[in-house]
Structures are given as C-alpha cells and as structure tokens.
C-alpha cells in the first residue's frame, strides 16, 4: 500500500481513538490556572477567545482529535518515507 494511504489510515484511526476517549473534566481547558489568576485580579473576566470561537464539549474534542490525528498521520508519512529511503540506500 502506498505510504500516503497508510499514513492517512493511521491518522484517521488515531483521531477516532482520541475522540472516543472520554474526558473526565469536560472541555479540558486550562481553567484552573486561569481561575487562580482571576482570583488575583478579582472582578475581571477570564481570557477572551479569538474571533469569538469557543469550542467546547463535542466540538473541542473533535478539533483536538483532528489535530492529534494530523500529527500521527504526518509522523507516519515521514517515518515510512525515511524507512523507504533507508532501504534504498
């Protein structure tokens, strides 16, 4: 099978697995640290998100699974390429 296809398969598998893992604390943001800082400047609001984008729950998990899947795919593509190059040499 060609290495792009293999890498894509690995990326999809990783994304599905990572999406399926339940998160014990919901959105899993850096909320606690931000809350500590917010206590120190009482009365002010927590940090804004750019362009009003505030993914949480399903959407956030999907986006992070996509990122992690891309990472796995990219790594697999590079690894298979390096292995192929090594066997050629």
């Amino acid at each position: 099978m060609n290495r792009a296809l293999l890498a894509l398969t690995a990326a999809l598998l990783a994304a599905v697995v990572l999406f399926a893992i339940p998160r014990a604390t919901g959105s899993g943001s850096d909320d606690r640290a931000m809350a500590v800082a917010a206590e120190m400047r009482a009365g002010e609001k927590l940090g804004r998100r750019p362009f009003g984008l505030t993914p949480d729950g399903f959407e956030e998990r999907a986006l992070f699974a996509l990122q992690a899947g891309s990472g796995v795919g990219l790594f697999c593509y590079a690894y298979l390429g390096l292995r192929g190059r090594g066997s050629e040499g």
Binding site: A14, L18, R23, A24, T25, G28, S29, D30, D31, R32, A33, M34, V36, A37, M40, R41, L46, G47, R48, R49, P50, F51, L53, T54, P55, E60, L63, F64, A65, Q67, A68, S70, G71, V72, G73, L74, F75, C76, Y77, A78, Y79, G81, L82, R83, R85, G86, G89
Partner: protein, 215 residues
Amino acid sequence: MHIAEGFLPILHCAFWTACTLPSAWDSIRQLRRPEVRARRLELAAAGGTLLLLTALKLPSVAGSSSHPTGITLGTVLFGPRVMPALVLSVLVLQALLLAHGGITTLGANLFSLGICGPFTAYLAFRICRRFGVPAAISTGVAASISSVAVYGAAALQMALAYPDSQTGIMGALGRFLAVFAWTQVPIALVEGAMTAVVYRLLEGVAFTAKLEAAR
C-alpha cells in the same frame, strides 16, 4: 499549557512578542537552509510529534489540564534554533482553530514553548551526552526536563502579570507552579519515555541527529 487569549496585559504581550521576534525570524531562516530542506522527512516527523503531543490535553486532579510539549525530538534532530518556527506554526493553528492559546498571547506562548523549552532540552541533552548517557535516554531526560521548564516559564509569565497582592511575584509563582505540578510532573516523565521510544524508532531508519554530529 498555553496562556489564553486576552489574558495577559497588553504591555506584557508586547514585551514577550518583542522577545521572541528575533528568534522566530532566525528560525524561519534556519528552515530555508539547504541542509534542513534536505531533511524534510525528519522535520515532518518532528512536526508530527509536536502536533500530536500538544493535542493530548490531560485533565488534572485540580480540575485543570496539561499536555506534553513535544519539542525535544525536533531539538535533538535539528538544534534549538529551528524550533521556534515549528512551534509558531502549531501555536497559530491552535489559537485560530482550537481556542488553545491566543493571538495576543502568541509571543508569550512562543517564548515558553518555542524558545525556553528547546534551549533547556538542548542543554540537558548535551550535558547527558557529555556524561556518556546513551542518546535515546539523553533525549528522554531532555524531554522531561524541558517539559517542566516550559511550564515553569508559563507560570513565571503569569506571575509577572498578576503578582499576589500580599506575597508578590514569588507568591503568585508558587501558586501557579503548585497548580501545574500535580499533572505536569507525571506528564513530563511519560513524555520523556515516549520521546525516547520515538527517538529509537527513528534511529532505526537512518537519521542524523544534529547534536550527535556536533559532538
């Protein structure tokens, strides 16, 4: 962790951005060098590791989350000067699409993850190798130490921005570090082991560690 959008005062944002600009510019120039371009597959492997590990946000007992940094593999393969550009691309992606980090805090996050972390990893790797520690284990140790260093830098940035009213910057720093320590120390250990395994994996398929060549 990445500091969230709008969280730091604008002067701090400007300061950290100014601190990172020279390194980011230098790093982009490093990526254009022929010897780096010739090793695009290894760069892709380092980028893939960075993308994957920074996406693995793990919940902590304190209710917060932390994630591995994934910067050590690229540092060992290409040296710390290449890393700011790689990290910058990931930070921009996360800030725009994932609400992880932010645009105004890009400079601060780049400083901790793209500069402080890689240079710490570089130093740790070199020291380990000087003492004769095997390369894979040195990489793992460097990954663990740099992971903690990144979070230390982030905690310092936040403490500088929001010092405690009674105990000052040091008090705030202690509180931030305490929040992160619960998750980040175990994550750093796991990241060290994972990075060592990935290094061994790549070692088997003919790659050139820049730092090895430099010894």
